[in-house]
């Protein structure tokens, strides 16, 4: 497991353990493969290490939101690059860390991963992290109405892919 070597590292490792899953999900949602997702996760936590001491977070939630937004921005930057855009979309299900799900879960996950990038973060924050629209708006630095619009369109895409009705907020 994660062994601490110094108090400083221990602090960072605590933060890492606390948020690595969320950061990884966001990164995998964008990158759709393990290697790129892990690379983006490392880059995200490196950014955290590079933050100055005077830029302390107000709370754990603030820290988590910062990590998620930073991770999504890093992934978007990666995806903007020409080489990345030219890469063939990989088979998402083959790259899943957990392939044990049944057909229904895999369909949902595949539909989520196929969402356009601009909806992914909002959908993740709303459905998984259970952020409110105002929290998402604050984290993404967007208007709340924009967030509502993103969520509505994202849900519509998922409904089209999976059928049925999604729960309203």
């Amino acid at each position: 497991m994660l062994q601490s070597e110094s108090p400083e590292e221990s602090g960072f490792q605590r933060v890492y353990r606390q948020h690595v899953d969320a950061v990884y999900r966001v990164c995998f949602g964008f990158m759709k493969n393990n290697a790129d997702a892990e690379d983006a996760v490392q880059e995200t936590f490196l950014k955290l290490l590079q933050r100055g001491e005077d830029q302390a977070f107000e709370s754990t939630a603030h820290e988590r939101a910062w990590l998620i937004v930073t991770a999504s921005n890093i992934c978007k930057n990666h995806l903007r690059s020409w080489t990345r855009q030219k890469r063939k979309e990989m088979e998402s299900m083959d790259e899943l860390p957990d392939r044990s799900g049944d057909g229904g879960e895999n369909r949902v996950l595949e539909a989520v991963l196929q969402l356009p990038d601009k909806y992914k973060t909002a959908i993740y924050l709303f459905y998984y992290e259970e952020y409110s629209c105002s929290d998402i708006a604050a984290a993404l630095k967007k208007k709340e109405s924009t967030v509502r619009s993103l969520l509505k369109r994202g849900r519509a895409i998922l409904q089209k892919a999976l059928g049925g009705e999604a729960d309203e907020e």
């Binding site: 994660l2 892990e38 490196l46 799900g101 949902v108 998922l158």
Partner: protein, 298 residues
């Protein structure tokens, strides 16, 4: 589709422990690498020798350029003493330039020229003497020396100009503020030039005795040297420039002096169109581009 389904779908995107450990090791390694890179960049960079010497080389080049400019300015024919005007100015200065006489048989004769100045007797052929003496002279005195050599060797044709030189120093000697010893010395020497030049016309083997007096440095702030004595008249300047197009005749060269400084500054004098010389003239300081109006204060 339920929200719970979406949440469970996201939950499946969880890295295993090995992946977490791998990512943490990667983060630590990259962080350490960045720290090392930061420390490396913080170390003083060893600059190559040509970069380190760039400034000294530039200074040296500038100094050499200055020396060349001054040399060229002094070597300029405009600065060569053409006779009367130079002599008059020299009479007002605390020190005199280098002068030659030919021939002089012994050092005793040379000593008679210059009380208080350094006398060099060189009973050698003209060319040899020139080479030997020139290295010890200031640029101005060398210029004067070069001018004097033809006066000795060409004899009759140069004689009038020499006598012309000798005519006016009496006025210059009368200047109270200037070292008269040097002026007298100059007169004596020039007299010798006159007398010997005539006799030397038929003589093929000549010797030259050079009396060398070090002039003060040419370098200085020209704004400290605002006074010139010319033809017995005193001129001052407030450094009002005169356009080159208004200059007519080159009056000669001389030196400017200042009240607050010792020494002198080599200058070129020019007549200004429509302005009598008795009222004023233009002066160009050696090494400078501008021409400044000097007005008569007497």
């Amino acid at each position: 589709m339920k929200n719970e389904e979406i949440k469970r779908a996201w939950e499946r995107l969880t890295p295993d422990e090995q992946a977490k450990e791998r990512m943490l090791q990667g983060i630590m390694a990259r962080s350490a690498a960045m720290e090392a890179q930061k420390e490396t960049s913080a170390e003083p960079v060893v600059t190559p020798w040509y970069v380190r010497l760039r400034v000294p080389m530039g200074v040296s080049a500038a100094a050499m350029a200055c020396v060349m400019v001054v040399t060229l300015a002094v070597g300029n024919p405009l600065l060569v003493n053409n006779g009367s005007s130079r002599q008059e100015l020299l009479g007002t200065q605390p020190v005199s330039g280098m002068h030659t006489t030919a021939p002089v048989a012994s050092a005793d004769d040379a000593e008679a020229y210059a009380p208080g100045t350094e006398a060099v007797t060189a009973p050698v052929p003209v060319q040899t003497t020139f080479t030997t003496v020139s290295s010890a002279l200031t640029e101005t005195s060398l210029d004067h020396f070069l001018n004097e050599i033809p006066a000795v060797t060409t004899a009759e044709s140069q004689a009038p100009s020499v006598s012309e030189v000798v005519t006016s120093p009496t006025e210059a000697v009368s200047e109270p503020s200037i070292t008269t010893a040097a002026s007298v010395t100059t007169l004596t020497e020039e007299t010798e030039v006159q007398t010997t030049a005539h006799t030397e016309a038929a003589v093929t083997a000549t010797t030259v005795t050079a009396t060398v007096t070090q002039l003060p440095s040419l370098y200085g702030d020209m704004y400290d040297f605002n006074h010139v004595t010319w033809a017995g008249l005193s001129y001052d300047t407030v450094y009002e420039t005169v356009p080159y197009s208004r200059l007519t005749n080159h009056l000669g060269s001389g030196v400017a002096v200042g009240d607050a400084v010792n020494g002198s500054y080599t200058i070129l004098l020019y007549e200004i169109e429509g302005v009598p010389v008795e009222r004023g003239f233009a002066v160009q300081y050696a090494g400078q581009r501008e021409y400044y109006y000097f007005y008569c204060v007497e």
